[in-house]
């Protein structure tokens, strides 16, 4: 029986959760002995000119190794200082609160903040741009010499109102997809040494190869001159893709001073320094007939980039690509503008552009349903792409591989007991219950694979003791690669999981690789491992044939016990260890890279049930039922874990989380006391329904599951809050639907009535 699809308990967890894991601050390597500790001096102002930096008081402190500023960055290549270009350390101008201005190196870790306070920076305040509306006004420009804060545009140059001319009903609304923080448990951290003309960086990252390339590029080093290692990594959610300016600066400082340098940020720094996510404003226009057919949809996106371009200019492309969601819509128009503001830069965050697309179309569907007075689930059903239309190319140019959208919707409605929920909602409304019930439905499709053409690499070696080492170019930071990859190998080779070690994160071992983001690991990295196992198996067949003096075609691998026998010949057969021995010095191993031109499109449907206390405005998520179909499941524990975490994070955006700024550009949610990061206490037990529709894009038939929960849950939960209050005439409440926001909406609705 295949181990694939079975509930294998995560083998990495005892180590990761108790003791034995090595997160970046746990590194106790001889190379890092005597490291200086790095502390960044960060701007307290959102927008200001730096008139002077006086480091003398800091330098006079005992135990201070160096205080470095932009002026010291004279040994790296010049960069065009165009709009949105992010420096390592701020030079003349700071553009967001928390921007690194100087780097303090101290002998002791705990000295850092004290010394940083002694670095005297004179700021001359500049007018501040907060929020895209202000950014679009161009009254204050972030980059002098430009004529606008808009740094990129895309999609339709002008919208065509004729698209809606034949619609019986047209609804338009502006909705906010707010800025949120990734807040991984392990904050950002880097250690660096410069020895023998070579830089080694240990980085808490999702992709060592991307970090290497960024460091090489920014510091002007040869590609072979940088090695990047990722030890155990405690979460990333997209915000640990690539090399942040702090990581590059720490590497540079190690070379500059000749000292090993290590840096770990505080939570406070993490909240303002690590890229934020989402931060889009949408104007949706949806039109169709009163029988529930949508014939035209328009999505106008304004993306807040923050102060510098990280991925902010890329995200809306994904939003546009996925704009029409699971629906077969005759006319779709999209466009975007990306705008610089004096806030923390925006980059990828769990879903990165696709949750925004789903949130927009799902809100639009609800608004349309409310306008024509039809059940929201029914309106969706009438517009879904039917199963016989796959592969389906949307009006925005995405080609969906496989999908069973109606089945997903019907399955989740059935599992949730949708009709009974509606009946309960009616009963509560009739008796004027202070706790009103809201039911939110969302359907979604997303694109996964994160640059599938770049592929992923793997190396598999069978050792002479019969054990296996798998190196993966993929980059686990909580996903469970060690378990899943070992299962894939056991399934193919019959070598038990406990004899298989999975390793990752060293650019000197696998010089090529891509990393973990965009729900790409299993479909690309897993396939590369699977293919490596297949290659090794074929090589082993030849070796076994030699050993047993038989025709390779007659060799049979018993995957129950991992031995090769000749078909029809009784006997003990040969074990893997013997074949590894026979393989000689080159070993029994394979290097693979799996790449494909095609992305995959997982899909699903969510039902959220929310109780709203209409006296206080408090919404509470009481049930969440989902179908998340990402094809065949290698290990249900891993897949369910991804769904759980995703649903929680998505629900949190709907109800709790927002990275907020005041009018002066001060972040007002820069600690976990103020940033209402969701906890288990706010969430019900999730009800997960299994559904598996394979893809033909890869030999495993799998799609990505890492972001699905987040994408489906946010609009379902938001919709449920609104739905609970629909009888009061409420059609929309922006996220997060905080108690006061809900209470205010109730008050306004009552005043209007």
């Amino acid at each position: 029986m295949s181990i694939l699809g079975t509930r294998v308990v995560r083998t990495e967890d005892p180590r990761l959760l108790t003791t034995g894991a090595t997160y970046l601050e746990d590194l106790r390597l001889p190379e890092l002995q005597g490291a200086a500790y790095a502390t960044f001096v960060r701007s307290p102002m959102a927008h200001a000119r730096i008139t002077e930096i006086d480091v003398s008081a800091a330098l006079a402190e005992p135990g201070v190794v160096a205080v470095l500023t932009a002026r010291d960055l004279d040994d790296i290549p010049d960069r065009p200082a165009g709009a949105g270009a992010e420096p390592l350390l701020a030079g003349d101008v700071v553009r967001f609160a928390g921007e690194p201005v100087a780097l303090v190196l101290t002998e002791e870790a705990y000295q850092g903040e004290d010394v940083a306070e002694l670095v005297s920076v004179d700021y001359e305040e500049l007018p501040v741009v907060v929020g895209v509306d202000q950014g679009l006004r161009d009254e204050t420009l972030l980059f002098p010499g430009t004529d606008s804060n808009v740094v990129s545009t895309g999609g339709a140059e002008a919208f065509d109102d004729a698209a809606f001319a034949d619609c019986e009903v047209v609804v338009e609304r502006t909705i906010v997809n707010q800025r949120v923080a990734a807040a991984p448990l392990e904050v950002r951290a880097t250690a660096a040494i410069w020895a023998d003309d070579r830089m080694t960086l240990w980085v808490s990252t999702q992709n060592v190869h991307g970090v290497r390339d960024a460091v090489v590029d920014r510091l002007g080093l040869g590609k072979g001159a940088v090695r990047v290692i990722a030890p155990d990594v405690g979460g990333g959610f997209g915000a640990k893709i690539g090399a942040d300016r702090e990581t590059i600066t720490v590497g540079w400082a190690a070379r500059r001073t000749g000292r090993p340098v290590r840096w770990v940020e505080t939570r406070n720094e993490n909240m303002v320094g690590m890229s934020h996510g989402r931060a889009q404003v949408h104007t949706v226009t949806i039109g169709g007939s009163r029988d529930g057919r949508v014939s035209a949809y328009r999505l106008d996106i304004v993306q807040d980039c923050g102060a510098y371009i990280r991925l902010g200019t890329m995200l809306p492309n994904l939003t546009m690509l996925m704009a029409s969601g699971v629906y077969d819509l005759p006319r779709v128009e999209t466009a975007y503008r990306t705008v610089l503001t004096n806030t923390t830069p925006i980059a990828a965050y769990r879903g990165a552009g696709r949750p925004e697309a789903t949130a927009a179309i799902e809100r639009a569907m609800d608004l349309f349903a409310a306008e024509i007075g039809m059940d929201a689930a029914e309106v969706r059903r009438r517009n879904l792409v039917p199963p016989d239309k796959f592969p389906f190319t949307t009006k925005t140019g995405a080609t969906y591989d496989t999908g069973e959208y109606a089945k997903a919707l019907d399955t989740v409605l059935d599992a949730a007991g949708y009709e009974e929920l509606r009946a309960e909602q009616r009963r509560r409304r009739e008796r004027g219950d202070p706790r009103q019930l809201g039911i939110g439905v969302s359907t979604y499709v997303e694109i996964t694979g994160g640059g599938p053409e770049a592929g992923e690499t793997a190396r598999l070696s069978v050792h002479t003791d019969g054990t296996v080492t798998v190196w993966t170019g993929s980059s686990p930071h909580g996903q469970g690669h060690a378990t899943a990859w070992a299962m894939l190998v056991q399934d193919e080779l019959g070598i038990p999981m406990d004899r298989i070690t999975v390793r990752h994160g060293d650019t000197d071992v696998l010089t090529e690789g891509v990393g973990t983001f965009g729900s790409r690991s299993l479909q690309l990295g897993g396939t590369a491992v699977h293919n490596a196992a297949v290659e090794v198996k074929e090589r082993a067949r030849e070796l076994a044939a030699e050993e047993m003096e038989a025709d390779p075609a007659d060799l049979v691998l018993d995957t129950e016990n991992g031995t090769w026998t000749v078909r029809g010949v009784p006997g003990q057969g040969v074990a893997w260890a013997q074949l590894a021995e026979r393989a000689g010095p080159d070993g029994l191993s394979a290097d693979t890279k799996f790449a494909t031109k095609q992305a995959t499109f997982p899909f699903g449907a969510h039902v959220a049930v929310v109780e709203v206390d209409i006296e206080t405005g408090v919404p509470r998520l009481v049930r969440h039922v989902t179908v998340d179909d990402a094809g065949p499941v290698v290990n249900p524990i891993l897949a369910e874990g991804q769904r759980h975490g995703g649903i929680a994070q998505g629900a949190a955006q709907a109800l709790y989380e927002e990275m907020a700024y005041d009018e002066y550009g001060n972040p007002v949610t820069a600690t976990l006391m103020d940033y209402t990061f969701v906890t288990a206490a706010e969430l019900p037990s999730f009800e997960l329904v299994a559904m598996e529709t394979p893809t033909s894009v890869n030999p495993l038939g799998v799609k990505g599951i890492g972001e699905a929960g987040t994408i489906g849950s946010t609009p379902a939960v938001q919709s449920a809050v609104v739905d609970a209050l629909a009888h009061l005439g409420i059609r929309h409440i922006d996220m997060p639907a905080t108690p006061e926001r809900v209470w205010t909406a109730i008050n306004e609705a009552r005043t209007a009535q």
């Binding site: 903040e113 004290d114 206080t616 007002v668 906890t679 905080t738 108690p739 006061e740």
Partner: protein
């Protein structure tokens, strides 16, 4: 998020704590569970020169039934209040409210006296002690004095405690009425109250409705005059001026005070 340097002294007894505080004067700050002070220090909003740690002064951790009151040592932790059989019997309001503070980690560290001495209007226990008409026993260089809870809270993080004084005991009279309730609204379970209301009989304490914990005197007067619960509760925000913050505007807090007071009074009524 790393505090500036400070001198750390650990007191083994209340007496030693007092002498250390006398030694360092204004520079010293007492620390018990640390769940209020340490975050402020990590954000460098509080920068005491000297920390006198009284967290291990076991002699001030007790819950005792006395002839006319319950005596609680200032260093009794929330967890112990929550699980005290004596309190469950005699002062269920305090036991229940203590079990709603923060999360289990906080409740294992935070102390009743630390919360009261910190004087944060957003803390739950001070308003509970107000509603229970507690008396605070304080030791200092000039001996022991008793301060009625109604005179203890002076302003934001300001109390009647002098710099060289130590809160040692909280005395809570046995309530005349057995009806009680605690209604607390938080953003997340672990958060500070947006607003909370503590009711014991006809006494009503308000959490986070101004610069100090408050008694809802207008509600209490109305109840004494025989008003129905909804009418009395409608006056819960009378005379309050709660600070607006990210969680709630002033108007929303005042609204919540009215709703939660009504619910608390109704709940208490159901227990009478």
């Amino acid at each position: 998020m790393i505090p500036p340097k400070f001198v750390y002294r650990r007191a083994g007894s209340a007496e030693e704590a007092l002498s250390l505080v006398a030694e360092y004067g204004d520079d010293a700050k007492l620390i018990a569970g640390g769940h209020s002070l340490l975050p402020l220090m990590k954000l460098r909003l509080a920068q005491p020169e000297v920390l006198v740690d009284i967290g291990r002064v076991r002699e001030l951790s007790y819950i005792r039934g006395e002839a006319d009151h319950i005596a609680i040592g200032a260093l009794t932790r929330y967890h112990d209040l929550e699980h005290s059989e004596l309190l469950a019997e005699e002062l269920p309001l305090l036991a229940h409210a203590s079990g709603r503070v923060g999360d289990p980690q906080v409740r294992h560290r935070g102390t009743i006296g630390g919360s009261i001495a910190h004087g944060d209007a957003a803390s739950d226990v001070p308003a509970v002690v107000l509603a229970l008409d507690g008396t605070l026993v304080v030791s200092g260089p000039s001996g022991v004095r008793e301060i009625p809870s109604g005179e203890f809270f002076h302003g934001p993080f300001e109390t009647a405690l002098e710099p060289e004084e130590l809160l040692t005991e909280i005395r809570l009279p046995r309530p005349a009425s057995s009806s009680w309730a605690f209604q607390k609204l938080t953003s997340r379970a672990i958060d500070w109250a947006v607003v909370a209301v503590a009711v014991q009989g006809r006494s009503v304490g308000l959490v986070n409705m101004g610069s100090t914990p408050l008694r809802a005197t207008a509600v209490e007067r109305a109840l004494a005059d025989g008003a129905a619960i909804p009418d009395a509760a409608a006056q819960a925000a009378e005379g309050t001026s709660p600070f607006p913050d990210r969680n709630a505007s002033t108007a929303y807090r005042q609204h919540l005070a009215r709703v939660l007071t009504r619910r608390a009074l109704e709940e208490a009524g159901s227990r009478a």
